[in-house]
């Protein structure tokens, strides 16, 4: 079978994901989200923040490889923490961004 775009073999996923946090800036957002990520045994590879399209935006790349928490469970924890902090948090596997933005 031919190779999928952006992945090593069909269905093989890198284990990396992008966490996006969008909302109004306030104290404790990075701390709160980072704690959820660390508690899940997930490693933060990179982090950037900026104001884009009038929203405060933070983007993290994380590595799920060493975590024993499922993708769904991590996603639920992040969304819940986001609600507590009043920001929108999403996590998606990196492959979707690679597929759409890189040839």
């Amino acid at each position: 079978m031919p190779q999928a775009p952006g992945s090593r073999a069909p269905g093989t996923l890198s284990g990396r994901a992008i966490v996006t946090i969008i909302g109004a800036d306030r104290v404790g957002i990075i701390a709160g989200i980072s704690t959820v990520i660390a508690d899940a045994g997930v490693n933060i590879l990179d982090i950037s923040q900026s104001v884009m399209r009038d929203f405060f935006t933070m983007i993290m790349m994380v590595d799920l490889g060493a975590s024993d928490v499922s993708f769904d469970a991590l996603r639920e924890r992040l969304v819940r923490k986001g609600e507590e902090l009043g920001v929108r948090v999403e996590i998606e596997r990196e492959e979707i961004f690679k597929a759409m933005h890189r040839v």
Binding site: M1, P2, A4, P5, G6, S7, P10, G11, T12, L13, R16, I18, T20, L45, D46, I47, S48, S50, M52, R53, T57, I59, M61, F71, D72, R75, E90, I91, E92, R93, E94, E95, I96, F97, K98, A99, M100, H101, R102
Partner: protein, 456 residues
Amino acid sequence: MKHLGFSGEEILETINMVRTEKLDIRTVTVGISLFDCVAGDGATLCDNIYDKVTRIGRDLTRVSAEIAREFGIPIVNNRIAVTPVSLIAGRCDAAALTRVAETLDRAAHALGVDFIGGFSAHVEKGMTRIDAGLIEALPTALAATKRVCASVNVGSTRAGLNMDAIAAMGRTVKAIAAATAAQDSIGCAKLVVFCNAVEDNPFMAGAFHGASEADCVVNVGVSGPGVVLRAIEEAGDVDFGALTAVIRRTAFKITRAGELVGRAASARLGIPFGIVDLSLAPTPAERDSVARILEAIGLDGVGTHGSTAALALLNDAVKKGGAMASSYVGGLSGAFIPLSEDAGMIEAAARGTITIDKLEAMTSVCSVGLDMIAIPGDTPAETLSAIMADEAAIGMINRKTTAVRVIPVAGKGVGDWVDFGGLLGRAPIIPVHTMSSRRFVARGGRIPSPLQALIN
């Protein structure tokens, strides 16, 4: 971000496509061959079909939901397409064929999929006894089931048009409308009359698993009229070269997302990946509309002069973007122009600025045909057949797929509204020509296949 190969802007673009522009995977369709279900008696056949469909499709909805969450892209529908029933039903009569349809319905229900396609026959050259039985069974089968979709291929560029079959299909659509009169003739929304049907189309109601396909396959249908609309609006008043580039780029991105999802689904289901079908398939949601795209290209309202040209450039640019994005683009891939499923089309029909004639012209350059059009319930069978013949002729001569899915709504006339619910949408009933085509349809026989040279 040094670890990323992409920028924050790109990440947000993807997220916005999903959140605000309604990019979605319209369907993950698993095609299943039923050839090995063939049996000497109808009851065993039905058991075999039920067992195979529920075995192969067992994990479909769970895997789809998982993938949707992980990639952040909604998967709207999960569907099953099977080998055309006319090819595997042996000696079944119309009553036994209805039981096959009911079996498919039960299997779809058990899997939690909303539609199962393949109650189909190919009769472009001639009709076997079993094809005739299947067509005869359509009114009862479509009235007795909720999830079964049917299609009949009545013509092709190679074979010409089977006018006897087209005459039969006019009567059949009338009978389906009557059999489902209590639900605004919704049975007709589950039947497609094709010319040049394709074997790997994942979109309903016309999906079936062609005879040339493997034992099972995952096909993905991606949509995204809202995303294309936004891109065109952002581009502003650029010339056509720049405009088509914008559409191509957008189609490329959408198709790549579709291929990723298709391959992930394939790996997790353990079923080979087939094709990704990038079709701009509208929904009744306001901006998820092909009509709105045509208007953004520069028309005050869809249906006015220029609509056909605008649709032609859209359809072609979508195909070009999609073809560059994936090695396996298939299905219908283009722009759909259903009436009741597209907010802009519904508005134009209510205003009276789109007619069945203009829709027919537009189908010569769109990806399929006359789709989800509600017409008066007293439309004669011969007129329905003549509409099918016109549409099939466009497909035959232009070497493309065309289809007719019209609903002569029992008991309703021009100006009445009909609401099919959900993605099937709602529409005002639009008029058809009232001068009779009876003598034309009554001739019988076949319209011969066309020359493939001297094509001007």
